[in-house]
Amino acid sequence: MSQNPQARSRGPAAAAAAVAPPPPSASGPGAETVAPAVAMPAPAAGGVRPAYANSAGAPAKARVGTWVRGKASGTPGRMRLFGALAAIAAIVFGLAGAWNLWSSAQALGRAGATTDQVVRVQSIYADVLRADADASNAFLVGGLEDPAQRADYEAAIKRAATTITAAASAQPADGVALAALNSALQDYAALVERARAENRQGLPIGVTYMTSASSGLRTTAVPILEALLQANTERSRGELGAASSSWPTLVAGVLAVLVLGLVSIWLARRTHRYLNSGLAGATVAVLVALISGLVVFSGIGSDAKRVADNQLAGTLALTSARTAAFDARANESLGLIRRGQAGPFETLWKARDAEVTARLKALVGRVSWYGGSGTNASALSTAWSAYEKAHAEVRTLDDGGSWDAAVAKATTATESPRTTFDAFQAASATAVDGFQSALTGDIEGPTTKARIAALVLLLAGLAAAVLSTRGIAQRVEEYR
């Protein structure tokens, strides 16, 4: 189109020039294909495309008109016309239904992919908060941090960075947000390293760098993570909803049946023969295809609803429970770091705790959907209760004025918030995997069904077109 931009501005008078041979550079073996491209912008300027499409080309139009009138005149002509209409209706139905079902299969695939992305984002979220809980916890005890905790911090940061890369290639629409998240995470890690370096020199500014890193994480990275979760959850729900939208098939099918039926009635009246086998066959083919298409759609609809209500909702509930749990854990450490001023952090801890409990409760009825494999929800609740108990003991100590004892309790390796929390997080990670694979598996069935049905509808539409054309041709022959 860009080869002759002047053609657009020259106006109708010069329009004919647009069909002139292309510039020398475009000639040669490729000229044949280039020529129409040059002509493309011209219709806007008037009269280049074949005349039947344009009021300006009177002689050509007359020629086509004569042909059409000749073919369409008289009863055979009308038969041809209605026959063509019936064939077009059948083909449109076949195409619309097949496209509709194919899109539905694609939507199911995308629903699975966006749910995978939700899980990826949640895992980044959990890792980021886990890293923060580790890093802040390290500042609780005097001297060097526990090597195991430091290793856990490094592993969490590394995992988060790797998952960000994976998520960015999985969903280009998340690219900008993930790039911003990556930069926020780098800033965070840099501040933590600075905090650690200052801390090793025994300087109080180390803690200031640490709290600045934590609050920066919550004002920059957390909103991006929330946005990513929201966007992908909405995409996933949207795709599941779109997968069962069958109206194009229904409309095209009903129209095709109506057209075939009306043409049959007209033909029966004209020819005084009740049954035209071709048209009847076409009508039955369309009707059967329409019904089976709708049945497949209804199956997809109930499968999609089940997936949305169970596996997707379950994955979301579980991953949200995990995120809330890590945030609770970070708030526990922050509450101890701001010694004697745990109140506001404890309020946040309680809110996160309530969220975890509610999410786990909502899961109980859904666990059977992944066949009971892995940990079930009540076991998760038990694991969480153990952590709650350990946390309460720490709070009792701190609130009673024994900050040192509270810190000792929070950082020991037996029956402490640390060990009970680790147990919960390991069990919940297994459960997330269970839900995720159940979701992938449950989407596969309806996807395959939709793909097969799409081909069936396409073939049925084409068959109906052929049948109706043959049926009409049979009658037209009788007029010869």
């Binding site: 005097g142 629409a173 500014i205 010694r339 004025g401 084409l462």
Partner: protein, 341 residues
């Protein structure tokens, strides 16, 4: 017409092509994910908790009432009463078993957490332990509450803490507007500036001339003084604490920090590129222990204790340990002014 055979493709092929291209269109990309969630989403973020400090209404200190002396405090008790004879707030603390003190954990030398031991220590903290030892018989029976400069008054007013020992300047607004009470002066400080090594500025006037960005913590008398230089060109920047200011200084977000000489000495210790040039203090900052204004007997009790520690060398021992290396030999302890009614 020679191209016709090419366009007359079998119907099914055309249909499939159309089908696939339509399906491809339907797959269309999603809109870019925004950088923050849309408001409909339930926020699950944990914003850093903030404690809103009640702002005093119209000031009683504008102008300062005639004859008002911020250093003047209640008369000390004649002697420290026996633990069984304690009344009021003192009896409550005794019954509770520990003293709750609002302190700083990041003001090196005055009150800072030692990263190597995890303990908060400094000149202010020594005083807290003296008070706990006097009331409870054990210097360790203390709950140290780490507070920011801006929380000092409100935590006393709301009784979140029993006392505040956090380089707190005795002034009219704090005595009359909040109101809170002070013990006798236990340290005499003054406001100075900290600048980058190599800088020629030695005062807020110099910094104002250079239109410098100067940091002071929110809710401090240092910030109030700094605001007076805004008209001369200073750009004030605030942080939660003085160490927060040092963080901004290290990140080159501010050019200088202003604060009490004790605090600045602690900051300079942490950064070899930060120096407190020789200068005259622009303000007098008398430090007192802060109390809830209703705890008059508690104030009198601590005043008696301060008299004792200043007299028997405990005050000087604490000064020598924390401040002498940075600020030189111990001066004479500040003289208390009594007689407040």
């Amino acid at each position: 017409m020679s191209r016709m055979p090419r366009t007359r493709l079998p119907l099914w092929a055309a249909g499939t092509t159309l089908l696939l291209s339509l399906a491809a269109c339907g797959a269309g990309g999603y809109a870019q994910t925004p950088l923050s969630p849309t408001p409909t989403a339930a926020a699950t973020t944990s914003a850093a908790p903030t404690t809103a400090a009640p702002t005093p209404a119209a000031s009683k200190c504008n102008p300062v009432p005639a004859g008002f002396n911020p250093l003047q405090t209640y008369d000390p008790l004649p002697s420290l009463p026996a633990s069984g004879a304690l009344t009021g707030r003192l009896a409550e603390i005794r019954a509770r078993g520990y003293l709750i003190a609002g302190v700083s954990a990041d003001t090196l030398l005055m009150g800072a957490r030692n990263p190597l031991t995890g303990q908060i220590e400094g000149f202010d903290i020594d005083l807290v332990h003296e008070i706990a030892k006097a009331i409870l018989g054990d210097a360790a029976k203390v709950q140290l509450v780490v507070i920011t400069a801006g929380q000092r008054q409100s935590f006393l007013v709301n009784r979140t803490v029993d006392i505040v020992v956090r380089n707190m300047t005795m002034n009219c607004a704090r005595w009359l507007d909040w109101p809170i009470a002070f013990s006798a002066e236990y340290y005499h400080s003054g406001q100075k500036v900290l600048v980058r090594k190599g800088s020629t500025a030695t005062s807020l006037d110099d910094l104002a001339a250079a239109k410098a960005k100067v940091c002071a913590p929110t809710g401090t008398t240092s910030l109030a003084k700094l605001q007076e230089f805004v008209a001369k060109g200073v750009v004030p920047v605030t942080a939660d604490t003085h160490t927060g200011c040092l963080l901004l200084f290290q990140q080159a977000k501010v050019d200088a920090i202003t604060g009490d000489d004790t605090v600045l000495a602690g900051l300079a210790t942490q950064d070899p590129y930060a120096v407190v040039p020789a200068q005259t203090a622009i303000t007098a900052e008398p430090y007192g222990v802060g109390f809830n204004s209703e705890d008059k007997v508690f104030v009198q009790y601590v005043n008696r204790l301060l008299e004792t520690t200043k007299a028997d060398g405990r005050w000087k021992a604490s000064y020598d340990r924390w401040l002498a290396p940075s600020l030189g030999d111990a001066p004479t302890p500040p003289t208390a002014v009594y007689g407040r009614q």
